[in-house]
Symmetry: C2
Subunit: 114 residues, 2 copies
């Protein structure tokens, strides 16, 4: 067996990011793990995410504001902030940092852990 | 449904860490996700990890050196570095940063994704 190689979450990021970049880093039965890179993008006006999977997500660089349906207040995320978004919990990304790359790690999975 | 709350990977860390701190952040069928905090600890001399689970691990702060059995060279990990350690791939943590907290996120799972 050859030695496992490492890669880095903050490298391999293009200079120009016209839309969010989503890459699957790992996939196994019941879950997949994504790296998401945002550069100022937000969910289009009036749209909500309504996902089939539970999503455990951590913001690792940059910043973002999440809005959950029915809430008045945007939840601001800074590096290291993580949360669990249950399946079908409608939410949108109000904003991401326009000046720095926002790097997210998202674990999408089935079967309730909550 | 109340709004999901966020927590932070870099907070809630004690001043003094006599041994590594391992906390399960999330558990679902087939996987669990841990936060590990090291403060200069290493795997005891002559010992190897030989795990039943596959481990996808990312180092988020600090630094560490991993050694895989049969390899001469220590793999140095810096913030953002991640790798997949297959089940039963014998390895040890040669060192972790003695001056800064080393925070890891480890996804332990069953069923081969490799």
């Amino acid at each position: 067996m050859s030695q496992p190689q490492s890669d880095n979450l903050f490298t391999g990021i293009p200079e120009i990011i016209p839309q969010e970049i989503i890459e699957i880093l790992l996939k196994a039965p019941g879950f997949y793990l994504e790296r998401i890179i945002s550069a100022g993008q937000a969910t289009p006006m009036g749209q909500w995410y309504d996902q089939e999977t539970h999503e455990w997500v951590v913001l690792l660089s940059g910043a973002a504001g999440l809005l959950f349906e029915g809430e008045a207040q945007v939840l601001v995320l800074r590096p290291g902030d993580y949360l669990l978004i249950p399946a079908h919990c409608r939410h949108r990304v109000e904003w991401t940092d326009p000046e720095r790359r926002t790097v997210w790690l998202a674990l999408q999975y089935q079967d309730s852990a909550v």
